[in-house]
């Protein structure tokens, strides 16, 4: 019998307590919009339609305590704020139901690491933003863009309030940041070029990342203030062990992860470390983070059971029903995996059940339903 609210349940798990049952907090927008009968484009650009699609999904497939990262209504901001605009459904020739994807191209050259420092990271970023958004050179258009960002954030707040009325918390709202290394690799330099830079221009990369750290953290703080949700999604993929050796991780990435987490924790904001790909060999590095102040959210590639073993007494573990299983698996397989997660990771608290990483658009509805119902079925 549930006796906690969704908010209490999630917060209890994050602080390593044992809630009345394991909370379930998937990334579900892509799937819910499809299931709810709207296009991916509508999900990105029409928050009210996206909310209705999510409610239909919950009514028919099962309740959830919260949404992890949400893309609903983010279309305009994504297209404005990302220097290298991604494939956005229904925009620039993409079909309305195309899959949202990042482009893997370099927007900068190696010599620009030092330019970034000389110009100042914020000005440099604005310069880069204007390459693909030349209209922002016009001050009037720039003001309009800022108004769009603020206006859409107010819509997010109203949506979050609506969904809270239905018992659905927003885990990280739209508070999304990437540590400088991840940011440069994902959005500015392309993975391959960036990796080579780590060998050829180590000092320049390190200096540029240090310069970017402050502005990125401050941006996260502003997003938290706009949303009112005191948790922040910090994305990690390209500094994982799938991509980077321990030597490079210790030299470049670890100081960043520690500094960025410390920045938010000291301000009472919970970092949700959204870790895609394989972080298993790097788990031990995160033991030094303050106890009960972070969430480690895994995508099904890392060994989540090992995460519990190494980090379970330090931070909440979250994950990780794999996308492949949700699409191709049988409900019995999903049920068995969720049961194992809940019983082995959730029996003493400190665990949140989630998808790993996103419930895919083409997941089988019966598998999603099985995942959502498992928390009531197996929590003790």
């Amino acid at each position: 019998m549930d006796f906690m609210s969704s908010a209490e349940r999630i917060e209890t798990a994050i602080t390593l307590g044992k809630p009345d049952r394991v909370p379930v907090v998937p990334i579900i927008d892509f799937f819910a919009s499809h299931y709810g009968g709207i296009t991916q484009h509508e999900m990105f650009f029409d928050l009210q339609k996206a909310d209705r699609a999510l409610l239909k999904t919950m009514d028919e497939l099962g309740r959830m305590d919260g949404q992890n990262l949400s893309y609903a209504g983010m279309g305009r901001i994504v297209m404005l704020a990302i220097p290298n605009p991604p494939v956005m459904p229904g925009v620039n020739g993409a079909a309305p139901d195309d899959q949202f994807q990042f482009l893997e191209t370099s927007l900068m050259q190696p010599q620009e690491y030092l330019e970034l420092i000389e110009r100042g990271p914020v000005r440099w970023m604005m310069d880069k933003l204007k390459i693909n958004h030349p209209s922002l050179y016009n001050p009037l258009n720039f003001t309009k863009a800022m108004a769009t960002v603020i206006g859409d954030n107010l819509k997010f707040r109203r949506s979050m309030k609506r969904m809270r009325g239905h018992g659905v918390e927003s885990l990280v709202a739209y508070n999304i940041v990437f540590p400088p290394l991840e940011f440069l690799s994902l959005l500015m330099r392309s993975f391959n070029d960036f990796t080579i830079d780590l060998f050829r221009y180590p000092d320049e990369v390190e200096a540029a990342c240090k310069a970017l750290r402050g502005p990125i953290c401050k941006l996260g703080l502003q997003l938290v203030a706009l949303s009112g949700v005191k948790r922040v999604f910090i994305g990690g993929t390209r500094t994982s062990a799938s991509f980077m050796s321990p030597r490079l991780f210790e030299k470049f990435a670890l100081p960043e992860w520690e500094a960025v987490c410390d920045f938010f924790i000291r301000r009472g904001i919970t970092p949700v470390l959204h870790f895609d790909s394989d972080w298993t060999p790097f788990f031990h590095y995160f033991r030094e983070l303050p106890k009960g102040k972070c969430v480690m959210n895994l995508d099904g590639t890392s060994d989540i059971f090992k995460a519990r073993e190494v980090l379970g007494d330090r931070m909440c573990i979250m994950g990780d029903v794999p996308a492949t299983m949700l699409k191709l698996g049988e409900p019995e397989e999903v049920d068995g995996y969720c049961r194992r997660l809940i019983e082995e990771l959730g029996q003493d608290g400190g665990f949140i059940l989630s998808s790993g990483c996103t419930v895919p658009i083409d997941a089988r509805p019966e598998n999603v339903s099985t995942m959502l119902h498992s928390v009531k079925k197996y929590s003790k």
Partner: protein
Amino acid sequence: MADDISSLLVELEEERLRRSVSEALSRGDDPLTLVEKLREGMGTVGQRFEEHEYYLSELIMSAEIFKQALALIEPHMGAATGESRGRIVIGTAKGDIHDIGKNIVATLLRCKGYEVYDLGENVAPRLFVEKVKETGAGLVALSGLLTFAFDAMKETAEALSAAGLRPALKVIIGGGPVNGTVLEYVGADDWGKDAARAVKLAGRFLGAGGT
């Protein structure tokens, strides 16, 4: 000196390797022997990757150094380009534009001496069929990160069968969420969890001995 070239590549000594290759070429060393030593070096890098001594970062850097060294050697090779170990068509399946894994696999296969025809990303099944017919490739390597890609891989495998190219032509798949279940769904011949595995599969299917 040629042994030195191999070990310099393994240790990712970019500048020293460049100097050694230039010196060897000035001395009149056989260019094909130099290429073979570089390939040996890549083989050792692959072994270290499999033994978790090296990670993807080192794999990428070694491939970059290999390419740079090869660019120095190629003008000295004349008509002797070395024997091709087989032809491979590679691409990211339709609907998916992720290219990191696909590019790394293509680069490593080239380093091993395969002729690789990279069709890029978001590649329709018929383009794989056409390229295999045009090149006479013995292997198709399909990549994908999205679950959408599973369906496109399946369509591609079926299109290659319908064109009468399989079972002589082999199809391998890879990408973040790919596993044995996806292999069964797609109906490919095998799958790999990383680039080193892809090279091994190429060796097995094209009979040229992988890393």
